[in-house]
Structures are given as C-alpha cells and as structure tokens.
C-alpha cells in the first residue's frame, strides 16, 4: 500500500510532478522518506523544478507536513525550485509558518561528554558548595534565633500557632499508635527470652528503659521527619517555585525569620513533648503484653517500671529528642529553601529532607548512646 501515497512523474521540461494520493495522516502508512528519495533519484539528471498535484489527496494532517518540510530542506540543498501551488491551502499556510522563522543560531544545545577529571572536580566542588550552604544556613539560623530572643525577629504568631498545632496535637494519634505497637513488640521479644529464666518481671525494665532512653525519642523523630520535616520542605519548595520567597525578600522580610524560625521553634517545642507521650504509650504497650501474656499483676508491673527508670533516663531521651527536633526541622527548611523552581525539584527537596533528617537522626543517636554510656549516665 505504501506506493499508493504518491506518484512521481517526469515531465519533458526537466521538471517533476509529485501527485499526492489517498490518506496522509499520522495513523496511516505512507511512503517513507528513504524510499521516496530512492524513487526520486532514479532519474539521472536532477530536475530543476518540482510541482504538486493534490486532486487525489484525501485526509491529511501533520504527517504530510513532515514530508513537505523534509522535501523543502532536501530541495534547497540541491537547488531545486519547488512550486507549492498545487498543495491544499491549509498545507501551504502551515508550511509557510514552519519555515518562516529561521532557527535561532546558537539555540540548539550540544551534549558534551566530559572527562573523568572534570566530573570529579565538579563533584568535589558541588560537595564544597553543599557544605558552605549548610554552614551559612546554620549561621543564619543561629543569628535569627538571637534576633528572636532580643525581640527583633518578625513572624506571624498565627503561623507559629498553626505549626505548633500541626507538629504537636496533630501528630498525637500517629505517634501514639506507633509507640504503643513498638512497646508491645519490645515486650514480646523480651518475654520470650526472659521466660526461659523465669524472669518475666524484668520485661518491665527492658521495655521501660528501651522506650524511655532510645525508642521513644527515635521513633518520634523519624515519624516527625516523615510527617513534618518533609511538609516543611514541600511548603518552602513550592513557595520558591511561585517566587513567594523572592516576594518576601524584596519587602525586606527575612525568609529565615519569617519562614524558618517559626517552623523550627514549633518543632523544637513539640518534639520533646511528643517524646514524653511516646514514652508513656510505649510503656503502656509493654504493660499490655506483660499482664495479658505473662500474667504479671498490673501494680507489680508498674512498680517494677518505676524502679527501673530514673529521672536521668527520661532526661537522656528528652535531650536526644531536642537535638532530633533541630535536625529534622532544619533539614526540612534547608532543603525547601534550596529547592529549584520546578515540580520535580520540589519532589527532590522533600525526599532529600527526609533522607538527610533520618540519616542524621541515626548517626546522632548512635553517637549519644556511646557518649552517655561512657559517661555512665
């Protein structure tokens, strides 16, 4: 069927007549450029002129124009004059539009492959830039905290209250459920081991200490990194896309004071409180396992827990969670402010905020555990 889409006839006056036949649409099969070229070049002498006949042309769309655009370039390179008059008016109009504006020189991009050294250098410089960005951000944030305590930082308390609510009360259910389950799982794991020695009652110590010193703070921080840290990154990233942050800057309002400060302060206030809530629910989870599976009396379990946990254990968890709050909120805000100006960049900022926060949480947790251990706290 391919040969049906056009016919080439050679006329005596050294010109060629191309008859377009049938359908020329994107969904139909037409003659390929290669086979057209082969047919066209069968003629020993290149013609001086090309004419068109389109009386038998039926449906056509961009497919025909693709062919004509190619033919135009081909004819120009061979100095063949093309007379477009035989084409449908619409096709002539489109062809004129397509060839009217010449390609702007230098617009097209060349992809260059770079040497290994070049790429290594770029990578290293990127790393330095990243660290500089981080240090600058931290410094600016500390200055902003300073301004806050001297009463010179301006942000809207309405915003701050909203952040408090979403990072605090709004997170209670999810933190509660997860802590309860983690406490119960700890209880189960301990129960199986301790039952072998008949020392079931020490499940209370295990769960109590585990939750209060480690799991409470860490679980809360990881949940808040996913829930709130990434939300901060997405909010600030979207504001970056919409030029909202530029708008603040041009009005002389510091994005650090106005956007970052209320968010970080809200999380720093709320995360330790959530950590306490998580501690309580974790202990409750262990308690449920203890009294239902191990047949420990309620009061006995509570008494054991009370004796196992000292105030300094709780303080250890709270100090950790305070640091986690700084890490999570700063990672979210930093990545959000660094976001590029398109939708994919906002996605990257959010992911990166999560990854940075969780990585730092785990590293910091390991470090403090070792430090506290050495100090005997």
């Amino acid at each position: 069927m391919q040969s049906q889409s056009l016919a080439i006839s050679y006329l005596t006056d050294n010109s060629v007549e191309i008859s377009l036949l049938g359908d020329w649409c994107l969904t139909c099969e037409v003659v390929t450029w290669q086979s057209f070229q082969a047919q066209f070049e069968q003629y020993p002498e290149p013609p001086e002129k090309i004419d068109f006949v389109s009386s038998d042309l039926e449906n056509w769309d961009s497919k025909l124009l693709l062919f004509l655009v190619k033919l135009d370039a081909y004819a120009q390179s061979r100095h063949i004059h093309v007379n477009w008059d035989g084409l449908p008016d619409g096709a002539k109009g489109l062809l004129r539009l397509a060839t009217e504006v010449p390609e702007r020189s230098g617009a097209r991009r060349r992809t260059r492959t770079r040497s290994l050294v070049y790429r290594l250098g770029t990578w290293a410089m990127g790393g330095v830039e990243e660290l500089t960005g981080l240090a600058t951000f931290l410094g600016e944030w500390l200055l902003s905290i300073g301004r806050f305590f001297t009463g010179r930082a301006s942000f809207r308390w309405v915003d701050f209250n909203r952040f408090l609510q979403s990072a605090g009360a709004g997170a209670l259910p999810i933190v509660g459920v997860i802590s309860l389950l983690v406490g119960a799982v700890l209880g189960f794991v301990g129960a199986v081991q301790l039952q072998m020695f008949g020392a079931q009652i020490y499940v209370a110590d295990l769960v109590g200490l585990g939750v209060v010193r480690e799991m409470g703070a860490m679980m809360t921080a990881i949940i808040m990194a996913g829930r709130t840290g990434s939300a901060y990154a997405a909010q600030l990233g979207t504001m970056q896309v919409n030029e909202e942050i530029d708008a603040l800057r041009t009005m002389g309002i510091s994005p650090m004071d106005f956007l970052v400060l209320p968010r970080t302060l809200a999380l720093i206030l709320m995360l330790p409180l959530l950590c306490l809530w998580s501690d309580a629910l974790g202990i409750l989870g262990g308690l449920l396992v203890g009294i239902s599976v191990l047949d420990i009396a309620l009061l006995e379990y509570l008494q054991q827990t009370k004796e196992a946990i000292s105030l300094s254990d709780i303080a250890t968890g709270l100090i950790k969670s305070l640091i986690f709050a700084v890490v999570v909120s700063l990672a979210g805000c930093l990545r959000g402010l660094q976001s590029g100006r398109n939708s994919a960049a906002v996605g990257n900022a959010t992911t990166s905020a999560m990854v940075t926060a969780i990585l730092l949480i785990v590293i910091w947790d390991a470090l403090t555990t070792i430090i506290f251990n050495r100090l005997g706290i």
Binding site: C25, L26, T27, L57, E58, N59, W60, D61, S62, L65, L66, V69, K70, P88, D89, G90, A91, K92, G93, L94, L97, A98, T99, E100, V101, P102, E103, R104, A107, R108, R109, V241, R341, N342, S343, A344, A345
Partner: protein, 264 residues
C-alpha cells in the same frame, strides 16, 4: 484528524460544532452563571468575553470537560459530553487542545518532552518520527531549535508559544485558549493573534478564546458570547464587531468601548 474538506472551510462553517444548552455553572451552592445558550460553529474563532470574575475561565473549563455543568448540557457535534461513555469522552478530549493561562508546561520536562508526551501516549509513532513531529510543531510557533530547553529557561512569551505547540500536538479539531495574550507585550500579543488566525485557516480548527483584550477580540473574533457578572448570565452574543456597531446594551457597550460609552 484533519481532512481534505478543511480546505473549504467556507462550506463547513455554519455547522454547529459545540452547542451549549441551558447550562448553569456552579461550585456547590455558589452560582457562577446561569441559562447559557449559544452555539460555536465549525471554523469559528469564538470569543468568551466579560469583566474580571464573571466566570469566563470557568466556562472554558466546562467546555473542555474539566467540570460537569450543574444544569444543562454541552453538545459536541450533536452528542452530549457527559452522557458519553468514559472512553468516548476521552477520545473526544483528545481531539481538543487547550492553552492554559499560565502555559501549564510541565516544568520538569524539556519542551521536546512536553510536546512528545501526548504523541507517545496516544499514537504508535516511532521515536524518530515523534522527534520530527516535535521539531515541526515547534517550528510552527517559531521555536525551532529550542527542543532541549526547560520551560524555566525561556521567556514568558516563548512559554506561551511552546504551550501552544503542545496543545496542537495531536492535530486537534478544537483549540481552547485561556487569556492567550495575558502577560505578553503588545507586539508579541499581535503576533499571537496572527498565529491564531493562520492556524484556524490552515488547520481548519475551531478556536475558542477567553479574553478581555479588546484589540484581540476585534482582530480575530467572528463570534462571541458576553457574560455579565452582575446578572450572572449571558447578555449578548454574535460577531464582536457587529456588537460594537449595533448593541444597545449599556454593559456591553461600556466593555467594548473601554468605558467611554454606555452605562452609566
């Protein structure tokens, strides 16, 4: 799909392409416009005009099938959009191209990828052919060579034109424009008007434009509907030039003369 009959637009114009019958638009209980009745003919450049906030863009969103009307119906070549089966509705939407007010190019993709996406989704073309088509569509809007640019790297006017190239990717029968000249300088706006006329004549497409740019309205429009924000319904329809010459309605007169004549 375009077809040979498009060459003779004159013969086909006058055929009803889109008909709006007794349509009321509302968001929940909030009434936007009521009792809309008008016909967009084949080959028309149809202007939806009216003051700010009267529901022009909402009407456009109803016409392209993003919202169902609260009351009434929209007919495309005789069949009611919301009574079609979902797959027929999709096929119909594929034959429309929309140029959104801000361009709405996908910012994470290059211009070439933006235009190639509908082609890859809805046709079985080879990658090489898709690339050729992309270059051709970009050359139609004067952006040849800008395939590998991201939307954020080109100017607002260029973004508009690239968005137009994307709207035309599937050779639509109907093109919808939401405020095409907003944010363009007068020269670019004029060029865009010329391009719209040229595309109507060449593609044989029906074009629906939401605008309040008087210069564009008189330069390209041959049919229109005027929405009034106060009475929440249409108060005039027809060729804008004829409306300017003939209408007695003070609100329409005021609009078409930039407030120099008419009410109050």
């Amino acid at each position: 799909m375009a077809n040979a009959a498009q060459v003779e637009i004159g013969n086909r114009s006058g055929l009803a392409h889109i008909e709006v019958r007794g349509m009321t638009m509302a968001y929940g209980d909030f009434l936007i416009q009521k009792d809309l009745n008008f016909t967009i003919n084949q080959g028309d450049i149809f202007i939806i005009m009216g003051g700010s906030g009267c529901g022009k863009s909402t009407l456009l969103r109803h016409l392209v099938g993003l919202h169902p009307p609260a009351v009434g119906e929209v007919l495309y070549q005789g069949s009611s959009f919301w009574q079609l089966a979902p797959n027929e509705r999709n096929a119909l939407m594929r034959r429309m191209g929309v140029l959104y007010q801000s361009g709405a190019l996908w910012t994470a993709m290059t211009l070439a990828e933006n235009i190639a996406l509908p082609l890859e989704e809805y046709t079985s073309l080879m990658p090489a052919e898709v690339n050729e088509l992309v270059s051709y569509k970009l050359s139609l809007v004067g952006l040849k060579g800008f395939e590998d640019y991201y939307p954020s790297e080109i100017s607002g006017g260029m973004q508009k034109r690239a968005a137009l190239a994307r709207a035309m990717a599937l050779d639509p029968e109907t093109l919808f424009f939401d405020e095409p000249s907003a944010g363009l300088d007068p020269v670019s706006a004029h060029l865009l008007d010329d391009l719209i006329l040229e595309l109507r004549d060449s593609l044989g497409a029906t074009i629906v434009i939401v605008t309040h740019e008087l210069a564009s309205i008189f330069a390209v429009g041959n049919n229109s509907v005027f929405l009034d924000a106060a009475s929440k319904t249409m108060i005039a329809e027809g060729d804008p030039k004829r409306l300017l010459a003939e209408t007695d309605n003070p609100i329409v007169r005021k609009f078409l003369t930039r407030g120099e004549e008419g009410y109050p």
